[in-house]
């Protein structure tokens, strides 16, 4: 399997680097133990307060395991779960002097401190019974090793000085170096994500790169500032500058929590139509999961996938305003004018929920011919029709018959590209149906 090979390609060099760093450090002794301890504690604290991917909540607790592979994406703050740890590790890699005195820790000790602190940071999580998240640690070791290899020899041999990268130019050099490091990290992260999930590499890398200007730039800037401030003011710079970053991490966590409950609330609102008897049980959830998978197949970006999921969850909400339920909850057999009326009513409800207006637009345009719809609305429409059709014709051949029905309607109602993406998703996973 290519996935396993990718993981091995990341883990083996990371493990080799870690072993080399630890062995060299144990052999030669620790240079400046105070610095090593301070940065080690900082990185370990950053890792302890890391947000583990397992903690993230899906739309609702009754999310069945079969759909979990279409589950929620990572938030911008979760992409790098431990910004404080990352910034601290990069700062240690870029530390040329402390309080005006040159430092003697080279690449091996940098790697050793990062590995040791990372392992310590994993302890509380393992004690609580979780399985350790080794992917971030492997990535951290490789990226920090890269940054330290680029910086420490150049600095210690005085090559940087001969290049003129001292004084005001030094921060610029460091920023450039970390930008390069961040790019490498994005490539690694996307490769690991592809190996773990099997999603296409292109959109994953694009999502990683899009996250870079946000949290990524802040981490890099913090790493540079910490390294330079420690060089000027000694180790006191660490606590002074960690406080803002720790607060940021805390805010990210609260933000992630409120987003999780927000998703739960939307999912509950979506369930209201099922409980009211307007739509079959689990319909909204199935359409949302399958729409997300199809959107991913078509290469939509992460924010578009969120919008798509919300819209899919709420696409039937307009039916609440009907005095009597539509038979089977399927609006497809109704006359187009009636379908549009229901879609508009749904859009009006969705506008009140505070979700982005794109979501309301998707719901409103449900019943339009696909050529007039945005691509997200086409996906919801097709997946919704598929779920209705598959539910109506029970039996082993139901998905195929439903797909056949959709293919016959590609002249006006359904876009051929979306139908084909849906059939590929169904052929691969099948379980979402």
């Amino acid at each position: 399997m290519t996935g396993r090979r990718t993981v091995a390609c990341v883990y083996v060099p990371a493990a080799a680097l870690a072993c080399w760093g630890l062995a060299r450090t144990l052999w030669g002794g620790v240079a400046e133990p105070g610095n090593a301890l301070a940065f080690g504690v900082l990185i370990a604290v950053g890792e302890v307060v890391r947000r583990h991917p397992a903690e993230r909540a899906g739309p609702s607790p009754d999310h069945r395991p079969s759909t979990s592979r279409f589950a929620a994406p990572l938030l911008p703050g979760q992409r790098e779960g431990a910004p404080l740890g990352a910034a601290g590790a990069l700062a240690y890699a870029l530390l040329g002097e402390a309080g005006g005195r040159p430092t003697g820790h080279g690449v091996p000790q940098t790697v050793a401190v990062v590995v040791a602190a990372g392992l310590v940071g994993l302890v509380p999580y393992v004690v609580r019974g979780g399985s350790p998240a080794l992917d971030p640690l492997a990535r951290r070791v490789l990226t920090v090793g890269f940054a330290a290899t680029c910086f420490q020899p150049l600095y210690n041999t005085g090559t940087l000085r001969t290049w003129g990268a001292t004084g005001p130019l030094c921060p610029l050099f460091l920023v450039g170096l970390l930008a390069l490091t961040a790019l490498c990290d994005a490539v690694l992260a996307a490769a690991l994500a592809r190996a773990r999930t099997g999603w296409p590499y292109g959109p994953l890398l694009r999502d990683e790169l899009r996250a870079l200007p946000g949290i990524g730039s802040a981490i890099c800037a913090t790493g540079v500032v910490m390294a330079l401030a420690t060089a000027v003011a000694g180790l006191w710079a660490l606590p002074v500058f960690c406080l803002p970053l720790l607060l940021t991490q805390f805010a990210f966590r609260r933000y992630a929590n409120v987003r999780a409950t927000y998703r739960q609330t939307i999912a509950s609102l979506a369930r209201a139509t099922e409980i009211a008897g307007y739509t079959p049980h689990g319909h909204a959830r199935r359409v949302a999961a399958l729409s997300r998978a199809v959107g991913r197949e078509l290469g939509l970006s992460a924010p578009d996938l969120d919008v798509l999921e919300y819209a899919a969850l709420m696409h039937d909400i307009g039916q609440l305003s009907l005095v009597d339920p539509v038979p089977g909850g399927a609006t497809a057999p109704l006359p187009p004018a009636e379908q549009r009326r229901i879609a508009l009513l749904g859009g009006a409800v969705v506008r009140q929920t505070g979700v982005p207006s794109e979501v309301a637009v998707i719901v409103e345009r449900q019943a339009d011919p696909f050529r007039e719809q945005p691509v997200t609305a086409r996906i919801v429409r097709t997946v919704n029709a598929y779920d209705d059709l598959a539910a109506r014709s029970a039996g082993p051949g139901a998905p195929l018959r439903a797909l056949e029905g959709l293919r016959l309607a590609t002249a006006q109602d359904h876009e051929p590209r979306v139908v084909e993406a849906l059939s590929r998703v169904l052929a691969r996973g099948g379980r979402a149906g």
Binding site: P168, R210, R259, T265, G277, V349, T353
Partner: protein
């Protein structure tokens, strides 16, 4: 457009005059003063204030997905570390001048944008001047050779002074220009802004230290990036929270699509429930959940056929049985919302009676969850005191008397006593719910909220019993 009150003009004029007096000694500082640094910081602050959108923030906004239109803009006040760094680096008159161009260039809201700009410039100049004076008063601290634990004290004192001056001046302008009552204009201003300003103070200190170091201003600029991200995340958190509350409100309004019987009932039940709980001394976090329990108690009506909810006239036993399913439907709808916690049980059991003749499970006494007993009393109280199409509202004392009569059979006497005591103390102002409680923590009513019309066993429609 409203005319700016004369007192406000005088107040702002005085502030501007004071700021000018603070900055007046600047020309006498001579060529030895750090004019270049002041100019650079002023330009930086002006740039920060002028930039309302940047590609970086747009990228973040797209990632955030769930937020509104404005989330690409900079959070207000994020550039404060620049001013605080200026206060530490520059002599007081120059520090005061640093804030002026930025404040004058920044976009200001209507009405009176020009006056607002002048006001912001004056108050920021005064705050910077005070912070710089405080920093200098606490002894000489060479920033080029920082002695660290000692340096923290004057830096923190300077940022506290900055924040204090801003809070004091802001309270004053709220009182004279926005006509807030004098007693409450200053309430919460200092406590709310102290935390962020302390963090900004530390960032400003770091900027100042790096500015004076061999690495110079480029390193100092980098400090702004994490600060910006921190402000952005906090702003994003608040937006997301508001969106979440809008969604809760939409859940209630979805009921309204089906049943337009009464308006504001859910919010009033939430409010009465909180009154009871305060009287019982419940913790603040539980109050919040209980408010949601009150607001969402009838969400299960979504599951009842619309025809039945809108039916006028007496219900058949069959129809009544269907309507009595609504607590179970409601529980089914909200059971996936983790943060509702105890509120979910309250939604399921708010029609139980302490004598065991309620529904859906016929629980008795203490078997009924505490929140459900609270919501039951609040629900019945509001049903009696509000006007329905089939009868007029009863006065509050009559409703309380009726609740007292039913205490022990239908209601928990403790909750009834608590409600009566709370009503004696605070009174009942049902109309104020939507308009006068701008508490950010509670979903303010859209005013379209459905009734508790489900008839109880053995009672006439809409009655208490």
């Amino acid at each position: 457009m409203r005319e700016l009150p004369v007192t406000a003009r005088v107040y702002i004029g005085c502030a501007a005059l004071a700021a000018a007096l603070c900055a007046a000694p600047a020309p006498r500082l001579g060529a030895a003063a750090p004019w270049t640094g002041a100019l650079a910081l002023a330009a930086l602050y002006g740039l920060c204030e002028r930039l309302r959108r940047c590609p970086l923030a747009d990228g973040l906004r797209r990632r955030a997905g769930g937020a509104g239109e404005e989330s690409g803009t900079f959070p207000p006040g994020w550039a404060t570390p620049v001013l605080l760094a200026g206060a530490l680096l520059l002599p007081p008159p120059l520090a005061a001048l640093t804030a002026v161009p930025g404040a004058l260039l920044a976009p200001a809201a209507a009405p009176w944008p020009a006056t607002r700009r002048l006001w912001h410039a004056a108050e920021l100049a005064l705050a910077c001047w005070t912070a710089a004076q405080v920093f200098r008063a606490l002894g000489p601290h060479p920033l080029s050779a920082p002695r660290f634990p000692l340096l923290l004290l004057p830096a923190v004192a300077a940022s506290v002074a900055f924040c204090g001056v801003l809070a004091a001046l802001d309270g004053g302008v709220l009182a004279v220009a926005e006509r807030h009552p004098v007693g409450s204009a200053w309430r919460g201003l200092l406590t709310r802004s102290l935390g962020p300003h302390l963090v900004h103070g530390l960032a400003g200190l770091m900027m100042a230290v790096l500015w004076r170091s061999v690495y110079g201003p480029p390193a100092a600029l980098l400090v702004l990036l994490p600060v910006y991200l921190s402000c952005w995340v906090f702003a994003q958190y608040h937006r997301e929270r508001a969106a979440h509350q809008a969604t809760i409100r939409a859940l209630v309004q979805a009921v309204d699509i089906k049943d337009r019987y009464t308006r504001g009932h859910s919010e009033r039940v939430g409010r009465a429930s909180v009154m009871i709980a305060r009287e019982l001394g419940m913790a603040q976090s539980r109050l919040e959940v209980l408010r949601f329990a009150g607001i969402l108690h009838d969400v299960g009506k979504l599951g009842v056929p619309t025809r039945l909810l809108r039916k006028d006239g007496p219900l058949t036993p069959e129809e009544r049985r269907i309507i009595e399913l609504h607590p179970e439907y409601g529980h089914e709808i909200v059971r996936g919302i983790g943060f509702l916690g105890e509120a979910r049980a309250a939604i399921l059991h708010h029609h139980e009676r302490v004598d065991g003749r309620g529904y859906p499970y016929g629980l008795t006494g203490r078997q009924i969850p505490e929140f459900a007993r609270v919501v039951a009393v609040a629900d019945a109280f509001d049903a009696m005191t509000s006007t329905r199409s089939y009868r007029r509202a009863r006065p509050v004392p009559a409703a309380v008397a009726e609740l007292r009569r039913c205490a022990g059979a239908q209601f928990d006497p403790r909750m009834v006593r608590a409600l009566a005591a709370a009503l004696d103390r605070h009174g009942w102002r049902p109309d104020e719910v939507a308009a006068q409680e701008p508490d950010p923590a509670l979903p303010v009513a859209g005013g379209h909220v459905p009734p508790a019309r489900a008839p109880r066993p053995g009672a006439g429609q809409g009655g208490v019993r």
